[in-house]
């Protein structure tokens, strides 16, 4: 592990300003043990300034993933600004051009272009937040070389770092994590990023919403034992104690499982796949996925009990003889508890789950039958 440090930071004992340690919460005069990870993370994130509307803050954070200024961030109204600006760790100002964005994962890839020199102070930043800032883009002019996190993806989108790609960190629940970014815009101009420490909680599927609207991404995320879900903190780099990149703080959401605000990061491998897709694509964006419209419910051969009340428990009323459900052993009066591992609280949820199933694949139903709980696998009929 120590060897890998030296590799990441050849001969560098980074001097990290005291302000960061105040934020990390150590009261010791020494560098505190997190210094190496912070030293790796902070130069590899940029502050972003763009469009702020309603609850969307006009500022955010992005992660550098190439020496020539490719930046990963979350896809939000922020980058809809006419002139998105970025400020590097050393205070260098950039313009940021949106190369690619994905509505499903709510991720975006930006390209930094040379900016106007000095970093904007808070006053300038407020100006930018209006969205109609001046100063034209400088075409294809290049920036860098900049420090970056290597996700193992080359400029053409081809893998450069073997099967594991750049995501080599083995993260276990209980591992330290640090998030470097600009929540609440407290790091002004060239000031270094805010760093929050915490612990990696677990990896799980996201089931969340933004206010009342469901969040489109349902893939895996890293749950963090750290308050990272803050305005401006979206897009922060998350590293482990060794300074290895493990993920990026996602958009502020509320978990549907707990009804609580949810602190999470998009995992490195999800970001790497997005980056690969973005660099290979000739399109500027990918539209949200159209849900697979199928009616496998009828193909299972199950008729549910429907009474017309608002919230009805998903009870099986009848199973068509000889149907897939019949062969799998589903019986009348079974109460369906979950579909493919996802709990269905009522009949509406059951219907929604069945509609969202990929056609033709076996479906795992967990049902209550009397006092026992039974799991059955139903192979739907081909339509």
């Amino acid at each position: 592990m120590i060897a890998s440090f030296t590799y990441l930071l050849p001969g560098v004992r980074s001097r990290v300003p005291a302000a960061i340690f105040a934020l990390v919460g150590t009261a010791v005069a020494s560098a505190g043990g997190f210094d190496r990870a912070i030293g790796v993370a902070t130069p590899r994130v940029v502050k972003l300034y763009g469009l702020g509307v309603g609850l969307q803050a006009g500022y955010g954070t992005g992660v550098l993933v190439s020496a020539d200024g490719l930046v990963l961030t979350v896809s939000s109204l922020l980058i809809d600004a006419e002139d998105v600006r970025a400020v590097g760790a050393d205070g260098t100002r950039y313009h940021a051009e949106v190369l690619y964005r994905d509505a499903a994962r709510q991720l975006a890839l930006l390209q930094l272009r040379p900016g106007d020199g000095a970093a904007p102070r808070a006053a300038d930043a407020d100006e930018v937040e209006g969205g109609g800032a001046s100063g034209g883009r400088r075409g294809a002019s290049r920036v860098g070389p900049l420090p970056y996190f290597d996700l193992g993806v080359g400029p053409d989108g081809r893998a450069t770092a073997g099967v594991a790609g750049g995501c080599t960190a083995k993260l276990a629940p209980g591992d330290w994590v640090l998030a470097a970014g600009n929540p609440f815009k407290v790091a002004d101009g060239p000031e270094p990023m805010s760093v929050a420490h915490g612990v990696f909680s677990t990896r799980t599927h996201l089931d969340a919403r933004r206010r009342v609207k469901d969040f489109p991404y349902t893939g895996e995320v890293l749950v963090l034992d750290a308050i990272t879900s803050n305005p401006g903190g979206e897009g922060s780099a998350v590293v482990n104690l060794e300074g290895e990149f493990v993920g990026m703080v996602g958009r502020v959401v509320i978990s549907n499982r707990t009804h609580t605000h949810f602190n999470y990061a998009m995992p490195c491998d999800v970001l790497r796949d997005f980056l690969t897709e973005a660099l290979r694509s000739s399109e500027g964006s990918r539209p949200p996925p159209t849900p697979t419209v199928a009616s496998p419910a009828s193909n299972l051969g199950i008729k549910m009990a429907r009474t017309g009340y608002q919230k009805v428990l998903p009870f099986v009323e009848r199973v068509r003889p000889g149907s897939p459900a019949d062969r799998a052993g589903v019986r009348a009066d079974d109460l369906v508890l979950s579909v493919n591992g996802r709990t269905v609280a009522d009949l509406d949820a059951y219907d929604a789950r069945l509609k969202a199933l990929p056609p033709g694949r076996p479906v795992e139903l967990v049902v209550r039958r009397g006092r026992s709980i039974v799991s059955v696998e139903v192979q739907p009929e081909s339509p």
Partner: protein, 397 residues
Amino acid sequence: MMRALSQLAVSCLVVAWAVAPRALAAGPASAPDPAAADYQTLRAAQEVFRGTAQRMKPYLVRIDTVGGSQPRGALPQPDSDDAADKPKRSQNPWRESTGSDFVIADGSTTGLIYAADGYIVTSSFNFVREPVLISATLADGRRLAADLVARDQVRKIALLKVDARGLATPPWAPLTEVKIGQWAVALGLGFGGDEPAITTGIISALNRMNGNAVQTDAKLSPANYGGPLCDLQGRVVGICVPMAQRPGELAGVEMYDAGVGFAVPQHRVDEIVRVLMTGKSLYRGWLGMVVDNSVRDAVVVKNVADPSPLRAAGVVPGDTILAAAGKPVYHFGHLTQALYMLPAGEDVALHIDRNGTRFLVNVTLARNTELGPLPELNEPFDPSEPPAPPPEEEGDE
């Protein structure tokens, strides 16, 4: 924090020892380097956190509930006229409030194996919706139908029973061995995923909530209510529950993830479970009286319900309550605080002043459902009179 970590490193010498040779192998940095030493301490802490989660995993139970509704009054109703929307208090002066507007989600919750013969201890928070079906999934993958044996709505503990034998039970840390400032780890299954979600912190205080809870700054939320708060030796310090200094089955949930969380320690869980195993639930205890709000700096009884524990103890309107459960009370808030974590059935000593004469009465707290209406005031007290309409005063204790 670093001091705590250093102590941790000492207590986990084995781990530190395992890491140390690698540090030495790294090169010439064998001279004392505070930063490197801190790093090694953090590495050791990380190993301990990982290990604690793994050691506790076999005892965790995933609880899923089906059916039920949001508790009454808990759903925010932004469009309704506030005054018109409030239930008429006069309909029931002893109405229980849910204590919070928190909306309960549909996700899984967490429990902990309590006894080898299928008893699972968890938080009553997980059943506020009165589900029609509860299932418990054990760490070995067995999914079983669970019965809600009984619950303690005061300490927010619930007891489940599944048909299983020979279950492994976790080691517990008695409260006497829990120290303020020691590390604590909370585990929960509410976010889903294959591994229990871990949150970390310290023990912030002991004997909170009238001696019913230890306090921690580890993030507690619906994701781990009902799950264990553990020490770094992998022992259960307590069961994580939402709690607040006011009644209500949802009170305290609004403080989720705020760094102020509570866990019911071993001796209290044992005591509660002994009652719950008999199938008897524990509810908030009431005196059944109305306090005279026009009197400042003293708790003067304005009216006493019929029947009620206070009436049974002979307390009458005009009496002043000087102290409750050994704590002096100078206003209604003091009285609530002295009694808020005591369940119905518990005996409480009240110091009473009646026209200068001081005496002690023993009152057995009752459930709100056992309280009768308030007699009409301005009339000489006569228990044989028919119940009168309740007064406009707010009666709450």
